[in-house]
C-alpha cells in the first residue's frame, strides 16, 4: 500500500509537469492509463468493470490472483501488451497429471474484445502500483 501511494505521487507529479506534454505515443503504450490523485480515466474505470465481469472469478479481486489462477498484477510486470492480448484472445491450457489450469479464450466475446485495451490499462495501472485495491474513483468528465 505504501509503495503504491508513493508511486502514485511520483506519477501525479510527472503528469502535472512538462512530462505531460511529452506524453507521446510510446508513453501511452507503456503507460496506457491516466491516474490523477487516485482518480482514473474512463478507460481504466471501464477496464475495472469488465475485469469484474469476465476475469475476477478466476484471477481474484483487484487482479491479485486466486488459488488457481495467476496474480495478473505480477504477470504484467513481465508480459508485453501483445503477449497479454494474445493470451486473452486465444486462451491457454495447462492440463497435466498434476495441473488443471485453463485460461479460456475470449476471442469471440464482445464485452472482452471490444474493451481489451481498457482491461489492460486497468491491470497495468494496478501492476505499476499507481492504483490501489478496490473500486477506483473516476475523474470528473471535462
Amino acid at each position: 500500500m505504501k509503495i503504491s501511494l508513493v508511486s502514485a505521487c511520483v506519477l501525479a507529479a510527472a503528469l502535472a509537469g512538462p512530462a505531460r506534454a511529452a506524453n507521446d505515443a510510446k508513453d501511452d503504450y507503456e503507460r496506457p492509463y491516466h491516474v490523477e490523485d487516485g482518480k482514473v480515466d474512463q478507460s481504466v474505470y471501464n477496464g475495472y468493470r469488465r475485469y469484474g465481469n469476465s476475469c475476477l472469478q478466476c484471477h481474484g479481486p483487484d487482479g491479485l490472483g486466486s488459488s488457481y489462477a495467476p496474480n495478473l498484477t505480477e504477470s504484467l510486470k513481465h508480459m508485453t501488451h501483445e503477449q497479454f492480448s494474445d493470451t486473452v484472445i486465444n486462451g491457454r491450457q495447462n492440463v497435466t497429471a498434476s495441473q488443471q489450469n485453463v485460461m479460456p479464450s475470449f476471442g469471440h466475446v464482445e464485452d472482452v474484445v471490444m474493451y481489451l485495451d481498457d482491461i489492460y490499462a486497468y491491470l497495468k495501472a494496478r501492476s505499476d502500483g499507481v492504483l490501489g485495491r478496490g473500486r477506483p474513483e473516476r475523474m470528473l468528465k471535462k
Binding site: 465481469n53 469476465s54 491479485l64 491450457q93 488443471q100 479460456p104 469471440h108 464482445e110 478496490g134 473500486r135
Partner: protein, 599 residues
C-alpha cells in the same frame, strides 16, 4: 451388498411404477440409519450430518489423532466428503473428478480408481473453481456427476461404468458440482452455471439404466417447471397459471438462471424432495425487472413425478446474488412459539436469514437473521413472506453504474453451500458461517452463450470495525436465535458434523479440523491438516472403532476472494489482521485425513 440380487429383482418389477416408492429405496432407507456407515453426502435423507456414535466424546476428543492419510494427487479445491459403505471408503476430487475406492481393512489401499475423460475447456466455464461435492451410493453403484454434466454410474465393486448420461451442455456454461441424491429408483441431479445465464433444472434419471424420468426447470412455462397452477402453492395459496413467466420481462427468463447446484433432501413419508434455486440471470437487476420467479426459491416436489407441491421464494428480484441453494435440513418436532411442529424444514440461506417452514405445506414459521450484521433487509414480513429491503442497500434502486456500499452479507452469503449439522440430541443446528460484507455495482452486460453473464463488480471485506470473517454458531431454529457464536479468522467453508459424544466437528480455511463442545462452542480439539478445509466432516466405524474423516484442499469460492486477502479502499484503516491473505496460512493440495482415538 449381500442383498443386491434381491434388490435388482425388486427393482425390475417396480421400474415404471408411478405411485409407490420403489425398493432400491428400502436399502438406502435402512443404510442411512446405520451409524457405522456414511452412505449419503449429508449423512441421511434429512441432511442432518449427525451421528449417534459416541466413542469419541467431549471428554476424550482431545486425544484424537490422525490414523492414516491419503493424497488425491489433485491440487484444486476439495469440497464434499467421503462415503463409507461396508469396508470401503469412496472419495472424489475436483476436476478431473477422480473417484477412489479405498480399502478400510488395509487403510488407504486403492481397490479401484476411476478417472473420466473430459474436455478440459469445461474448466474455463466453472464459476468458482472446479469443485465437486461427491458421488452418491445406491444399489451397488457409485453415481458421480462430473464437471461436464455427465452423470455416470459405476459398479461400486469394480469401478466399471454401468451407464452414463449427459445432463447439460458446457458450451452454454452448464456444468456440475453437486452431489446427486438417489431416491427410490431415481437419481436426482441439478445444474450449475448461474454466472453464465443458463436455465437450470433438477432432473431425475432411472437408477437402473440412466433413462430420463422427469425434468423440472426453475424458471419458464408451467409445463417446464412442472407446476400445477391449482395445486402448487406458495404461502398456502395456489400459484396460478404462468407463475414464473409473469415475473419476467420479454425473453429474459430463457437465460433466467435459478441454478440448482446445492443439496437435495428427501422425506420418505411425504415422498417429497426439497432443494433451492440460485440467482436469476445477470447480477445486474435493472436488466431483469420483476420477481424473477422461481429463482431464489425453496421447492418441495413429488419424488415420483417432479410436480411441485409448494414453493417459497426467499429473495424475490435478487439484487445481491443470494443463491437459495443451501441445504434443507428436515427436523421433526421443533418447538415454534410454544407449539411442536411435527415436520419442519430448516434452511440457513445465503441472504442471512434462517428460515423454518412446515415442510408438509410450506407454511413460513420463522425467518430471523443468523448473523447480526445482516442489513439488506430489516425483516421478513410473515404474512407475505417477502423480505423488507432496506433502500440504502438495494443495489437496483440506484440503477446501473451506481455503487452500493457496506451491504451485509456479501454475495458469498452469511453461509454458502457448506452444510450445517442438526443434532436431534440437543435440538440445535450447528452452522458454519461467513461474516463478510460488500460493495456492489451493477452494470449492463450482453449475453453470449457460454460466457460469463455477471454484470456487477463487487468488493468484499469484513464488517466495519471487525477483524474476523467467519463464525461457527449454534442456532435455535424454533426461536430464530443464535445460542452461541465462535469467531474464526476466515469464513468457515466446511460442512459440520455433530455427534452423540456432545461435540461438533468442522474444518477451517487455514486447515484445522476442530471439535467444539455442543453446549458452548468451547474448542476441545484442533489439528492442522496439510491444506485449508472446504470439505465436509463425516464419521463411521470400522471393526467397532469410531473414525472421523475429512478432505482438505483449499479452493472453491473461498479460494478466490481469500487467496489475495479481502481488502480494498479501507485497507490500512485498522483491523489489519483481517486482511492477512489466506495464502500466508495454507497452500493447495487434496488430502484425506482419517482420525481415531489411540488404541
Amino acid at each position: 451388498m449381500l442383498r443386491r440380487t434381491a434388490l435388482a429383482i425388486a427393482l425390475a418389477f417396480s421400474a415404471t411404477a408411478g405411485s409407490t416408492v420403489a425398493s432400491a429405496n428400502d436399502e438406502l432407507l435402512k443404510l442411512q440409519k446405520d451409524p457405522n456407515q456414511w452412505v449419503m453426502a449429508n449423512g441421511n435423507y434429512a441432511s442432518w450430518r449427525y451421528s449417534p456414535l459416541n466413542q469419541i466424546t467431549r471428554e476424550n476428543v482431545g486425544q484424537l489423532r490422525p490414523a492414516w492419510q491419503f493424497s488425491t494427487g489433485v491440487l484444486r479445491g476439495h469440497e464434499g466428503g467421503p462415503l463409507v459403505i461396508g469396508d470401503v471408503m469412496y472419495i472424489h476430487t475436483p476436476f478431473p473428478n477422480r473417484v477412489f475406492a479405498l480399502d478400510l481393512n488395509n487403510p488407504g489401499r486403492v481397490i479401484w480408481r476411476y478417472e473420466p475423460t473430459q474436455d478440459p475447456s469445461v474448466i474455463g466455464v466453472m464459476c468458482c473453481d472446479t469443485v465437486n461435492r461427491g458421488p452418491a451410493y445406491a444399489d451397488g453403484k457409485i453415481i458421480l456427476s462430473q464437471a461436464d454434466t455427465t452423470l455416470v454410474a459405476l459398479d461400486a465393486k469394480t469401478g466399471k461404468e454401468v451407464w452414463k448420461v449427459k445432463n447439460g451442455d458446457p458450451a452454454k456454461g452448464e456444468t456440475s458440482t453437486m452431489s446427486p441424491l438417489v431416491v427410490g429408483d431415481k437419481v436426482m441431479v441439478g445444474i450449475s452455471g448461474g454466472e453464465f445465464g443458463v436455465r437450470a433444472h433438477v432432473t431425475a434419471y432411472n437408477l437402473k439404466d440412466g433413462k430420463l424420468v422427469w425434468r423440472a426447470y426453475s424458471v419458464g412455462p408451467d409445463s417446464d417447471i412442472l407446476f400445477d397452477p391449482q395445486k402448487t402453492t406458495e404461502m398456502g395459496k395456489p400459484v396460478g397459471a404462468n407463475s414464473s413467466l409473469k415475473t419476467w420481462e420479454g425473453d429474459e427468463w430463457k437465460i433466467g438462471g435459478g441454478g440448482t447446484w446445492g443439496w437435495i433432501s428427501y422425506d420418505p413419508e411425504l415422498n417429497l424432495i426439497y432443494y433451492g434455486s440460485g440467482n436469476p440471470g445477470t447480477w445486474n437487476p435493472s436488466q431483469r425487472p420483476g420477481d424473477n420467479k422461481w429463482s431464489m426459491t425453496i421447492f418441495a416436489r413429488d419424488a415420483n413425478t417432479g410436480v411441485a407441491r409448494w414453493v417459497y421464494q426467499m429473495t424475490p428480484h435478487d439484487e445481491w446474488d443470494y443463491d437459495g441453494v443451501n441445504e434443507m435440513i428436515l427436523a421433526d418436532n421443533v418447538e415454534v412459539g410454544g407449539q411442536r411442529v411435527a415436520k419442519t424444514l430448516v434452511h440457513l440461506d445465503r441472504n442471512g436469514f434462517g428460515y423454518t417452514l412446515n415442510r408438509e405445506n410450506g407454511e413460513l414459521l420463522v425467518a430471523q437473521k443468523y448473523d447480526p450484521v445482516v442489513n439488506w433487509a430489516s425483516h421478513v414480513d410473515m404474512k407475505t413472506g417477502r423480505p423488507q429491503v432496506v433502500r440504502e442497500f438495494s443495489t437496483g434502486s440506484g440503477g446501473e453504474d451506481n455503487n452500493t456500499q457496506n451491504i451485509c452479507p456479501a454475495a458469498l452469503g452469511s453461509k454458502d453451500q457448506q452444510p450445517a449439522s442438526y443434532s436431534p440430541k440437543t435440538g440445535m443446528f450447528y452452522v458454519p458461517t461467513n461474516h463478510v460484507c460488500m460493495d456492489y455495482e451493477p452494470f449492463r452486460v450482453s449475453y453470449t452463450a457460454g460466457q460469463p453473464y455477471v454484470g456487477a463488480t463487487l468488493s468484499m471485506y469484513p464488517p466495519k470495525g471487525e477483524d474476523h470473517m467467519g463464525n461457527f454458531i449454534a442456532w435455535d431454529a424454533g426461536k430464530g436465535k443464535i445460542v452461541w457464536s465462535k469467531p474464526e479468522r476466515f469464513s468457515v467453508w466446511s460442512g459440520a458434523l455433530a455427534t452423540a459424544g456432545d461435540i461438533v466437528f468442522y474444518g477451517t480455511l487455514e486447515g484445522y479440523l476442530k471439535a467444539v463442545d455442543v453446549k458452548d462452542g468451547k474448542e476441545l480439539f484442533s489439528y492442522r491438516t496439510p491444506s485449508g478445509i472446504i470439505g465436509n466432516v463425516n464419521t463411521f466405524t470400522h471393526k467397532g472403532k469410531q473414525y472421523i474423516g475429512v478432505l482438505s484442499g483449499v479452493g472453491g469460492w473461498a479460494g478466490i476472494g481469500m487467496a489475495a486477502g479481502l481488502g480494498g479502499d479501507n485497507e490500512g484503516l485498522g483491523a489489519v489482521g483481517a486482511y492477512k491473505a489466506l495464502s500466508d496460512y495454507t497452500q493447495l493440495g487434496g488430502v484425506l485425513t482419517v482420525f481415531a482415538l489411540p488404541n
